[in-house]
Amino acid sequence: MPGKLKSKWIGPYTIVGIRTNGAVEIQGSAPNFVPFLVNGHRVKVYRDNSELTEVTIDSTSKLNEDLLQVSLSAFAFLFSELVQYNQIQVDNIAELERRLEDAGYAVGARVLELLCHREKGNRRETRLLGILSFIHSTVWKVLFGKVADSLEKGTEHEDEYMISEKELLVNRFISIPKDMGAFNCGAFVAGIVRGVLDNAGFPAVVTAHFVPVDGHHRPRTTILIKFAEEVLQREARLG
């Protein structure tokens, strides 16, 4: 399309390296083999069905004014460093999950404060469904760029709720070795959710699980939220 309707993006390019200041080294497909450096803000993730991280460059080089965004590759790199750093310090999987969760908790507490202030309405959630839908849409949108795939109520227990995601962003570039079994880096996201719930006055135990799905070879990730007794009693009192 000519003129102003033309897409401003060129690419796709492949990331071959990430610098600490946020710049990324990218390389086009053959015949140009020389990788070049570009500001991380000028690239966005190219989504197609392949497994590689491909990016496209904004050729008008306009920065995103309203909300500052972190480049996906910079985050993936930092997160993998976080996991590795904790991994060498612990002996077992449960401890590693707990550490990731604690890291997420700190994020969740701050995110709650920040988001409620940014939202125009700025009301304090006092109902269970209110806070759950706040997490499912607003928090997820700000952190991961989209709302969560689904929010369900547990069938067996009154106090359980589940948020599911086909491909959790933090797990996207991580593959779990077979000897680590049920370990899930989604423990970080479970920690974020717990941080939000706890500071909003809804204490809960939050864990992340892999749920195999028929037809897909990668399992779905489910964040399981089990609310404390007092939350259910208060909810029942409020009617």
Partner: protein, 147 residues
């Protein structure tokens, strides 16, 4: 028209533990101001937990005038993590709107201070930048409502 003077601002955590308290008077009555802040916490708790009795909307952040004592006006603001901001002013003609605007800016400064990964939630806010920002806001508050 009297000068708008904020004499004290305070940030109190959800367990009523003080996170930041700063008085802006020249005199030595900071203890009295701490006492006023402490008393107003009860009013905040009452408004937050018994909405049906006082008939207010339950989840507004700005709580408004808490208790007008002889010389001071005390305003309250409740964030969604149950952290309370208290504002004590000597100006008897402070308008609600000014207090709301002040709390909005104060909330932003608070969030910036808390987002610091080295800040431990539940402990006092020790950031110098936060203290400077608060001082600037207090000074400009006086000028805008006095004119």
């Amino acid at each position: 028209m009297s000068e708008g003077m904020i004499v004290c601002v305070a940030v109190v955590g959800h367990q009523n533990n003080p996170l930041y308290i700063q008085s802006f008077t020249k005199g030595d009555d900071s203890l009295k101001l701490h006492h006023i802040v402490h008393c107003s916490l009860d009013v905040v708790d009452e408004r937050a937990n018994n909405p049906k009795k006082s008939g207010l909307i339950t989840n507004e952040t700005f709580l408004g005038l808490l208790n007008p004592t002889e010389n001071y006006k005390v305003y309250g603001y409740l964030t969604n993590t149950k952290v309370k901001f208290i504002l004590v002013s000597t100006d008897l003609e402070v308008r609600d709107v000014d207090a709301r605007v002040f709390f909005g800016r104060f909330h932003t400064a608070y969030i910036d201070a808390v987002s610091n990964p080295f800040h431990i939630p539940g402990k006092k806010i020790t950031s110098r930048k936060f203290a400077e920002r608060v001082s600037t806001m207090v000074k400009s508050f006086g000028l805008s409502s006095g004119g």
